[in-house]
């Protein structure tokens, strides 16, 4: 999980931050290697934005420490600020300026020019160049995010902090956006991104699951299924609501949740094998008038792991 840090990535140790009596971050520690595409996944209020703001040197932590590119976020803030690119949660460009005006402005802010930033900006610029003269406010959601990414890259940063860059953007634009991120990463950029979408998290090298100001786990998405300590079974049938209730009433039921067109079931008894659980369910469901239920053992994904690790959200009703 954590190798030795080479000082060019991000090192967070025991970070804590509270606003009044609300704890935003609670003893958060994580290491991001240089050149990694690292994802933070979790619901609103989990603390992702606070963490990103501290890393961007916009906030001071109450406890703990953080280093970005080998520099301390509290002491070396000016050195960090010229070397990172930051995209905060909301769309934060100038809606009444054109695409090109926005880019040139941000280039000037960093004391550089649009042309000088070409190496990183070029692939994205190709996609938004046809709209160079259009007011940024008149762009579609996906285009806006690409423009924002451009503006964050124009000064050739060494590290990117993207706080929910694809919220509210349609699925296709989101894919294109993450294609761009992967391309940037191949060029050597270190990227930290937070997202509520599990499918995006799956494209990261490693993912941190965040909830309630804490990091529940950090793992490689491709191997995160190993976290699961018991088999996961997917059940499909036509009458979903009835199936849901039926499965919940099964005496051995552990967790029962809808997942897309299937229902993911884990048994409360940890020692059963996948096949045994599946066979049991087949019999049980046949008795409950689900003759054609499809049952298969599946590999747990990020969301399954997340939900298994989650503490019950405050006041959740069953």
């Amino acid at each position: 999980m954590s190798g030795s840090s080479s000082g060019a990535g991000v090192e967070v140790s025991g970070l804590g931050k509270r606003y009044g009596d609300v704890v935003a971050l609670d003893d958060v520690s994580v290491i991001v290697q240089p050149g990694e595409l690292f994802g933070f996944i979790g619901p609103d209020g989990a603390g992702k934005t606070t963490l990103f703001r501290i890393l961007a040197t916009l906030l001071r932590p109450d406890t703990g420490s953080a280093r970005v590119l080998g520099l301390d976020v509290v002491r070396d803030l000016w050195a960090i600020r010229s070397r990172i690119g930051y995209m905060p949660g909301r769309f934060s460009l100038y809606a009444d300026l054109s695409v090109e005006e926005n880019l040139r402005f941000f280039a000037a802010v960093f004391g550089t020019t649009l042309e000088a930033g070409e190496r990183l900006v070029a692939p994205i610029w190709r996609q938004i160049a046809p709209f160079a003269g259009r007011r940024a406010g008149a762009l579609s959601g996906g285009m806006k995010q690409k423009l924002a990414l451009c503006c964050a890259l124009v000064h050739l940063p060494d590290l990117l902090l993207l706080d929910e860059p694809t919220t509210g953007v349609d699925a296709v634009s989101r894919r294109e956006f993450w294609d761009l991120l992967e391309e940037l990463q191949r060029g050597g950029l270190t990227i930290l991104a937070s997202t509520p979408y599990m499918d995006e998290a799956a494209r990261c090298d490693r993912v941190a699951l965040v909830q309630g100001g804490r990091i529940l786990d950090v793992a490689d998405p491709r191997r995160i299924g190993e976290r699961f300590d018991r088999p996961l079974v997917a059940v499909r049938a036509a009458e979903r609501l009835r199936l849901l209730h039926a499965l919940r009433e099964h005496p051995g039921a552990g967790s029962v949740f809808p997942f897309g067109d299937a229902i993911h079931y884990t048994d409360a008894r940890a020692d059963r094998s996948g096949e045994r659980v599946a066979a049991e369910l087949r019999d049980y469901l046949r008795d409950r008038a689900f003759p054609d239920a499809e049952i298969s053992v599946v590999r747990p994904g990020i969301e399954d792991v997340f939900m298994a690790l989650m503490r019950p959200p405050a006041g959740a009703a069953a």
Binding site: L59, Y94, A95, D96, A108, V109, G111, T112
Partner: protein, 380 residues
């Protein structure tokens, strides 16, 4: 990891230039606001053609009595005894008057002719000259009225003793504003209002809009120091305020022939000083508020309203209740209005206006420092 050339740093001017360009884009593309900013002062100049009636409590009277005698002294006593009057100077020649008026130390002068008492005693019609400082045309007429009333009372007293009808003919002259144009009164105040509007209100809104939209966050995570961000945002408004001031002066001159008797350069310089004060106030308001709406409200209540109500541009400070008058000392526009009126209507220069200029300079220095320190490099 990979070798990456650092992009060449171009320097602060380029960044500042970029900021100014950006702000100009914002200003010019916000058509509605632009129209209001340009049209409103012009409309106000044209609308405020009428005088506002006000009342006087404390009239400073200067008396010129070339040959004091029993009767003239009785007149002087009467004037002094009138509750609304305060005799500030008694002289034997009229030479001192000019200076008194210029310095704003007297509101009205009563000039008695030589051998006033003698001619009264002989029953001859006697002429008394009233000279009033009418750079504020509201008060000019009223002051005249009061003094005339007092003189009429004196006339009534004196008549039986003299044994014949005594007449006091009053000739009045209005200094500095012979035709009592209220536009003359109003325009200096209007400049203050316009500058406050552009510098304080627009700056506050512009800065808080960056906050609200989230663009400020992105600007902070850059090599820019907070003071550079503020300077970049504020400079275009400095220029805009300047332009509008010239526009107002031009319009006032063309429509009402409002004079500019003093140095135009001095007026513009003082305007710049006043603008800096307003800009700093705008920045302070933006630093304390979280939304554009709150910033607008804060700027309106904190800068625009005091300028309109307490600067003396509409309501003379002299007629405000006693407890309110000291309050006006902290309203920057109050000082500027005196300066502007002095330069435009009286043709005075720094020699007479150095006190007010000093106050404004002090305010500018303090507020500028406070404003730059109010914008932090971090969000908390």
């Amino acid at each position: 990891m990979s070798a990456r050339a650092t992009p060449p740093r171009r320097g602060a001017q380029r960044t500042l230039g970029a900021f100014v360009r950006k702000e100009l884009h914002h200003i010019l593309r916000d058509r509605q606001t632009l129209v209001i900013l340009l049209l409103m002062p012009l409309v106000q100049v044209l609308l405020f053609g009428y005088a506002l009636r006000t009342d006087i409590h404390d009239l400073r009277v200067a008396i010129v009595d070339p040959s004091p005698d029993a009767r003239s002294v009785r007149l002087r006593d009467r004037l002094e005894g009138t509750p609304r009057f305060r005799v500030v100077r008694t002289a034997t020649t009229a030479l001192a008057l000019e200076d008194l008026f210029r310095r704003g130390e007297a509101d009205v002068a009563v000039v008695l002719p030589a051998r006033f008492g003698e001619s009264l005693g002989r029953g001859e019609p006697t002429e008394v000259l009233l000279v009033a400082d009418a750079s504020d045309p509201n008060t000019g007429t009223i002051m005249q009225a009061y003094v005339r009333a007092a003189l009429a009372g004196f006339e009534a007293d004196v008549t039986p003793q003299a044994g014949g009808p005594v007449r006091i003919r009053v000739e009045s002259r209005m200094r500095f504003n012979p035709t009592l144009e209220s536009a003359n009164l109003f325009v200096p105040g209007l400049i203050a209002l316009v500058l406050t509007l552009v510098s304080a209100l627009m700056t506050a809104i512009s800065l808080s809009r960056e906050k609200e939209r989230g663009t400020l966050e992105v600007l902070l995570v850059s090599p820019l120091r907070p003071w550079q961000i503020i300077a970049g945002k504020v400079l275009p408004y400095l220029g805009l305020g300047f332009a509008i001031t010239c526009l107002v002066l031009l319009a006032a001159r063309l429509a009402f022939r409002v004079p500019l008797r003093g140095s135009a350069l001095l007026l513009l310089a003082e305007s710049v000083l006043f603008t800096i004060v307003s800009l700093s106030l705008g920045v302070l308001v933006a630093a304390r508020t979280e939304s554009q709406r709150a910033a607008m409200l804060g700027a309106l209540v904190g800068t625009l309203m005091p300028t309109a109500l307490l600067s003396g541009m509409i309501f003379p400070i002299a007629s405000m209740p006693g407890w309110l008058q000291p309050v006006t000392f902290i309203v920057p526009a109050r000082w500027f209005v005196v300066i502007a009126r002095g330069i435009m209507l009286k043709g005075t220069g720094l020699a007479y206006l150095w006190r007010e200029t000093l106050v404004l300079t002090g305010m500018a220095a303090i507020l500028l420092v406070a404003a730059t320190r109010s914008f932090h490099a971090r969000l908390d």
